[in-house]
């Protein structure tokens, strides 16, 4: 089966600009996650969707970050305006609930550099 797709793979913007990332999860996966991974650290969950509803967005900086999942499939994560500390890799993952493993499958990530 096809994996989690993300685009773009790389993005360089100046601070105060806006940026959007796109994710297409594995077909049939109800749950979608966005993570932020700063260099040298483990991934940090930003937001979790189940179908098109938000399960958890407690660590999403809502003053500048927003995310949506249209029709319970694709998702976009937006940053507006970007700050220098937003430089990181943004990972999208998906999982299929209802099975014991609940394993998350990760996309290739989008590397964001804010200058």
């Amino acid at each position: 089966e096809a994996g989690v797709a993300q685009s773009p793979r790389y993005k360089i913007i100046e601070k105060r600009q806006s940026v959007a990332f796109w994710c297409n999860p594995i077909s049939g996966h109800a749950t979608l996650y966005w993570y932020q991974q700063i260099l040298g650290q483990g991934p940090k969950l930003l937001i979790q969707f189940q179908n098109n509803g938000v399960v958890d967005d407690s660590q999403l900086p809502k003053d500048r970050f927003s995310a949506e999942r249209l029709k319970g499939v694709d998702s976009t994560l937006k940053i507006q305006p970007a700050k220098l500390e937003d430089s990181a890799v943004y990972l999208c993952a998906s999982s299929r609930l209802g099975q014991g493993r609940h394993e998350q499958y990760f996309g290739p990530g989008t590397r964001l550099t804010v200058t």
């Binding site: 749950t31 996650y33 040298g40 650290q41 483990g42 991934p43 940090k44 969950l45 979790q48 189940q50 399960v55 958890d56 990972l91 993952a93 999982s95 609930l97 014991g100 493993r101 609940h102 394993e103 998350q104 499958y105 990760f106 996309g107 290739p108 990530g109």
Partner: protein, 112 residues
């Protein structure tokens, strides 16, 4: 908040040697995952441990889970250069929407 700690953070080992990476977590969980990440790449699933006493092995890697001690180990046997990568453990909270909490990661370098 659930905390997940790994040690060591950095590990340099010679080929052919054995070593263990430890993953401690702060609250009850019966599901633990190990991932591998190569530089500039995404995370690749290695093991899924779903119960106390679970042991999984794949090649030179073996993972185990002790839910009573809140500890998982990733044992490397006779290391080879191809195992050089960063290894993350992640703990899931079953009743919190399957949220994953990742450890700090262990950067492994295997020296020929």
């Amino acid at each position: 908040e659930l905390k997940v700690e790994q040690n060591p953070l950095f590990l340099s080992m010679q080929e052919g040697k054995n070593y263990t990476i430890y993953c401690n977590y702060s609250t009850t969980s019966d599901r633990l995952y190990w991932y591998r990440q190569d530089p500039g790449k995404s995370l690749e699933s290695l093991f899924v441990l779903l119960s106390n006493g679970a042991v999984k092995q794949e090649g030179r890697l073996m993972a185990s889970l002790d839910t009573k001690a809140r500890l998982s180990t990733l044992h490397i046997t006779a290391a080879v250069h191809d195992l050089s990568a960063t290894y993350f453990c992640a703990v899931a909270r079953r009743y919190a929407g399957n949220q994953f909490y990742f450890g700090t990661g262990t950067s492994l370098t295997v020296i020929p």
